[in-house]
């Protein structure tokens, strides 16, 4: 399947967060939006807060570990069955024609196997694709959860969107400190403060939240450029190396283009050996002869199909502060891995294998002009 076909698949969002963080309350509010009117919801357990939704299914949480024993590569067999059953009913017109699935996972669940299941299963991947992972953090107890539970740290590290709930119950200063901590842990994910008690609200506010949290993502052509610019904001690029326990985030930056094949060899080898400790990777890769970057997006061992941006995103810390600029910028969120070792390794592969690159093919009229791209950026 071609990468572009992902936009035609049914997106599957994961809403995760620690026990009692307000996932169901947030989801109830989001589902009130007309934008999510055709959404199927899968929950791991029916909690105290009832979800009133027309298409609500429950799944158990059983996992099948693969031979390598890596939890992120586990197949959520329960989820696979539930999604296939749901799709079958949809096709037989026994269920409404939903255009999105939201999974509300249990408090201790790891989102990585969900993403892996969606992309690795040979049947599922022709019907569904991963959507944004939304992690809910409770402003009252978030600090304690992050300090004591590695599950909570991982849920934040893997998120595409972070929502701070119960902000009315915690003081503004505590909220600001926790928000800063979340931004440091996962600089590529925007943090949204849920308004009012446990994120109460409705109407246009629900729709705005639904679009920002669930609908927009990097796999949609209309939000891809903005998403890349969110990844490369001031918290990520040119920012210091952040640590939370043994989890750290940093951005690798280089202005030297790298051959895509060389990058693929390096990144594939890196993820194979260290993928369990590479929690999340998001960024842009500067490939020679292209007018725009290749977008890179990985969750542990799972790499989403790389896509191509037609133009360079605005990147923080360049020239006038918010200018489009060429260059490779990759945000890593890792556990116990050293930034300098990763940088040295990438540079070594690039420099050692660059000399081995095949001579370029003869010029063709339809080749993309690098020169015109650079001139455009200089204007």
């Amino acid at each position: 399947m071609r990468a572009a076909d992902w936009s035609a698949l049914i997106p599957v969002n994961v809403v995760t967060g620690f026990l009692g963080s307000g996932k169901t309350t947030l989801l109830s509010r989001l589902l009130a939006s007309p934008r999510l009117a055709s959404t199927a919801v899968l929950v791991n357990e029916f909690g105290e807060v009832g979800l009133d939704h027309y298409l609500l299914e429950s799944v158990s949480e059983s996992m099948v570990l693969l031979d390598n024993g890596c939890v992120c590569c586990a197949v959520r067999d329960d989820l696979r069955s539930a999604l296939l059953e749901l799709h079958g009913r949809r096709e037989r017109s026994e269920a409404p024609r939903y255009d999105r699935v939201v999974i509300e996972s249990s408090g201790l669940a790891d989102p990585a196997p969900v993403v892996h299941t969606l992309t690795a299963d040979p049947v599922l991947r022709h019907h569904y694709r991963p959507g944004a992972v939304v992690t809910v953090v409770d402003a009252l107890h978030g600090f304690g959860h992050l300090d004591r539970y590695p599950e909570s740290v991982k849920q934040v590290a893997l998120a595409d969107r972070l929502v701070l709930t119960k902000t009315d119950l915690a003081g503004p200063e505590e909220c600001a400190i926790l928000k800063g901590r979340l931004e440091a842990m996962n600089p590529a994910a925007p943090v949204r403060l849920a308004a009012g008690p446990a994120g109460a609200g409705g109407g246009s506010e629900s729709t705005a939240d639904a679009v920002a949290l669930l609908v927009e993502d990097v796999h949609r052509a209309d939000s891809r450029q903005a998403e890349a610019e969110r990844w490369l904001g001031p918290g990520a690029v040119a920012a210091p190396h952040h640590h939370t326990g043994d989890v750290s985030s940093f951005c690798i930056e280089t202005d030297e283009p790298i051959d895509w094949t060389v990058f693929g060899i390096w990144f594939g080898m890196l993820l194979h050996r260290h993928g369990e400790n590479i929690l999340r990777v998001k960024g842009i890769v500067d490939v020679p002869d292209l007018d725009g970057p290749v977008l890179l997006n990985a969750v542990q061992h799972t790499v989403h199909p790389p896509t191509h941006l037609p133009a360079w995103p605005r990147t923080w810390g360049r020239e006038d502060g918010r200018a489009p600029a060429r260059g490779t910028r990759i945000v890593f969120i890792v556990r116990g891995l050293d930034r300098e070792r990763i940088e040295r390794s990438l540079a070594a592969f690039r420099d050692s294998l660059a000399g081995a690159s095949a001579p370029p093919p003869p010029p063709r009229g339809d080749r993309i002009s690098t020169e015109s791209s650079r001139n455009h950026l200089a204007r």
Partner: protein, 113 residues
Amino acid sequence: MCGLCGVFGGERHWTERAASPAIFGGPDGDGPEGRRMTPARERQERVRLVNRVLDPLGLVLVEWAASSYVLRTKTGRSEVVSDLGGLWPAAERLLGRPCDPLDPGLLARIART
């Protein structure tokens, strides 16, 4: 599935996907405009570059039937791999030790090849 070897035909690995028409072309790519390499040439180039990394490890990769690769040790042990995703697990099985791209010794040996 290939009737000869029993290998399932699966999704193209992310390293082989058409991230851009200027990177990969071919019938399964994004059309002829801006094509830089045919899929066959891209595979040959991939094999050549991977062998720069495998050589210091005592391994060699060869393309097989334009659909898979064969990874061999110098003593003749071999495994069929379908793409780069299967390469490193196979390499570690054949070598009996990890292949770590962060290993400074390996990086130095790659630089010398």
